[in-house]
């Protein structure tokens, strides 16, 4: 017997040979995701963008955030961030069309992230208000390493791509072919491996700055 067969056989024996009816299993599994509000935290604010930002800047997430009206303002926002910290205007720019299309004059930029990259600018597909998370999918425009190698990670996310809960992300992508990687990123890299005390910048970025672009459709003008 192959290991596969012997394991499956042992599973059947262990469960007393009760066979699963796939339709019943599906129903039961779906029922386990009902009434989600009973099992997830309340948002920090009614407004999604506000809730998202509030979560991002809690000490637990320890990111910084700002809002701009239009993507065209991103290079200026990046410039302000760098200037405030005395950093050079040298950035690795994620090869995403939305970013590449902007006017980056005044910056020295490249699209491959170096192993010791100081600053990278990226674009997330979604933001999650529940946790202050950013969601990336690996694809032709999104090298995964770009999210992990830089010391400062500056990320743009559109306000209308902010979802309330992680579950909403799962629902939004259900049934689609998953990318190789879905990265859900919440704050900068951290470790508590030495005596339980939190230090940022363990292997990944030490600083995460999120720039929220535009307005959420639900927001008052």
């Amino acid at each position: 017997m192959s290991a596969r067969d012997s394991i499956l056989d042992a599973v059947r024996t262990g469960l007393g040979h009760v066979r699963t009816d796939p339709a019943a299993a599906r129903r039961e599994a779906a029922a386990l995701l009902q009434d989600l509000d009973a099992i997830r935290p309340a948002l920090l604010a009614e407004d999604l963008v506000e809730a998202f930002v509030a979560r991002l800047v809690t000490p637990k997430v320890a990111a910084t955030a700002e809002r701009i009206a239009d993507a065209a303002g991103l290079p200026a926002a990046v410039a302000r961030y760098l200037e405030a910290r005395g950093l050079p205007a040298v950035v690795a720019l994620q090869p995403a069309a939305v970013l590449q299309a902007l006017d980056w004059s005044g910056f020295e930029r490249h699209d491959r992230v170096a192993p010791d990259e100081t600053i990278a600018v990226g674009a997330a597909r979604w933001g999650i208000a529940e946790t202050g998370s950013l969601v990336f999918h690996s694809d032709a425009e999104t090298p995964i390493l770009a999210n992990f190698l830089p010391l400062h990670h500056l990320v743009m996310v559109r306000a209308d791509a902010i979802l309330a809960y992680l579950d909403d992300y799962a629902a939004a992508t259900a049934g689609q072919r998953p990318p190789r990687n879905v990265n859900i990123i919440t704050g900068a890299s951290g470790t508590t491996d030495i005596e339980g005390s939190l230090v940022l910048g363990a292997h990944g970025p030490r600083y995460l700055h999120v720039v929220i672009v535009g307005r959420h459709p639900g927001e008052a003008a």
Binding site: G14, P115, T186, H203
Partner: protein, 469 residues
């Protein structure tokens, strides 16, 4: 390593005599306990979420064959290769073989307790493959040449001073300043080029997503993604109990897992890995292998330990265990320490070798109270005690003593007499309100006073009193 040859009690006594170890344990578990408590106070939905998490796991286990097959089908469709391993040896052999087929000189590893369970670090070392542990704690464990002592903080047994000394000795460009920040930086510098030059990445999985064939890793450091992206080959090893029906179910589990483990709402990096690099992708491995491991899990199903398969390895039970907090993890002698380890280790190592573990517990129930999937750990531990008794593994004196006790306790008149006599004997040894130097009480009186009994038993006095009414 010599620890392994000592008995549990000898290991325990050695740990109790080590003041540095106690400091290290208190610093980490104390912080973890406080952070969890804070997270709970901010998450009033915890009880409901925990109940749901428990039901999700129970549902998966009850339909395990169905979900295993669904996962396998979807993983293969995503371009992954799926392997099955009945034992620890089979599992680590498969991984070593895949590494060799990939011509691997260097592999990077993401911390995985299953990897430890199947002896992977050792198997890779034996095969002459340069193994780089990328989780900071595992890196410290590797430098120290010892073993993980906690499932979430494997290097919890090290104080900052010890870590500093190791880094200074072993890192190419060690820290200058004596701060934890500077030490973490030193490790960052040390490991960066190793991430990028590895041939194979090996990770575990926190969840296996049945309806997509994806595997999910959660880390705070970001080492999982740095590990699994650059190499040509990514190998995942995962226990068959890690399944969940869908990403939505994984999210529901994550909410209780992370709060219980570190007190955060969600890990910094939660990544779903689905198959190898896709057309057009900028990076990612060409090959994606998943090894599904049984190693005792189906036996647990058969032998009444189904509830233990809910465990999501959060570590809360050990952080809140009075015994673990005195001993640390190494004393337990297995891959998994603390309450969950005391339940699991006899499964892997046999009860005869590890019968102390289920006994070295006060049955106070705190572990069950904090467990995010409500595993009745004390009941499972008592199950091992029951088995140990039935298999005759309990020492003769204990059997004799309890036998005598039961004999009397079933015969109230004799019991009264025996009690009266015991009281009188104890009082012979009593001075100043405590019993001193009485044979048989040494285990107690070595460390604390044994309060002396009153002159007569309650029943004796009660009879007189009521009789005289």
């Amino acid at each position: 390593m010599e620890q392994a040859t000592l008995s549990f009690k000898a290991r325990a006594e050695r740990a109790l005599a080590d003041p540095t170890l106690k400091i290290a344990i208190d610093r980490t578990t104390g912080t973890a306990e406080r952070k969890r408590a804070l997270a709970m106070s901010q998450f009033p939905q915890f009880e409901a979420a925990r109940d749901r998490a428990r039901r999700i796991k129970d549902h998966v286990i009850a339909n395990l064959e169905h979900y295993l097959l669904e996962f396998e089908r979807n993983a293969i469709a995503s371009g992954a290769k799926v392997y099955w391993a009945a034992t620890a040896e089979e599992a680590s052999q498969i991984v070593v073989r895949l590494c060799k087929e990939a011509g691997a000189k260097r592999v990077t590893r993401v911390k995985s307790m299953l990897g430890e369970e199947i002896g992977l670090p050792h198997a890779l070392d034996e095969a002459g493959i340069d193994r780089v542990e990328t989780d900071l704690a595992e890196h410290i464990v590797q430098l120290g040449g010892d073993r993980p002592s906690h499932i979430v903080w494997p290097s919890m047994h090290r104080t900052r001073e010890q870590v500093s000394e190791m880094f200074k000795r072993r890192h190419r460009a060690p820290h200058q300043e004596e701060t934890i920040e500077a030490m973490v930086d030193s490790a960052r510098r040390e490991l960066r080029d190793k991430f990028l030059s590895a041939d194979v990445a090996i990770s575990g999985a926190n969840f296996l997503i049945a309806d997509s064939g994806a595997t999910c890793t959660v880390t705070n450091e970001g080492n999982a993604e740095l590990t699994t992206t650059p190499p040509r080959v990514h190998i995942v090893t995962a226990g068959i109990e890690k399944l969940v029906p869908s990403m939505g179910h994984a999210i529901a589990m994550l909410r209780v897992l992370v709060r219980s483990a570190t007190g955060a709402d969600v890990t910094q990096y939660t990544t779903f890995h689905c198959g190898p690099k896709q057309a057009g992708d900028r990076d990612g491995p060409e090959e994606f292998h998943i090894v599904l491991v049984d190693n005792g899990r189906t036996r647990m199903l058969r032998e009444g330990m189904r509830e233990m398969l809910r465990c999501i390895r959060c570590g809360a039970c050990m952080n809140h265990c009075v015994v673990f907090r005195q001993l640390g993890g190494h004393v337990y002698g297995g891959t998994y320490p603390g309450p969950m380890g005391a339940v699991l280790t006899p499964v892997f190592d046999g009860l005869e070798k590890s019968r102390d573990l289920p006994h070295a517990c006060t049955m106070n129930g705190k572990c069950q109270e904090v467990c995010p999937v409500a595993i009745p750990l004390p009941t499972l531990l008592r199950g091992w005690r029951d088995r140990s008794w039935r298999e005759g593994l309990e020492p003769g004196v204990v059997r004799f003593g309890l036998g005598v006790h039961t004999f009397f306790a079933l015969r109230p008149r004799l019991y009264r007499l025996a009690t009266a006599m015991a009281i009188r004997v104890m009082r012979l040894f009593s001075r100043g309100g405590v019993v001193r130097g009485m044979p048989g009480l040494g285990a107690w009186t070595a460390h604390r006073e044994f309060p002396a009994p009153a002159r007569r038993s309650f029943m004796e006095m009660y009879k007189d009193q009521e009789g005289g009414r």
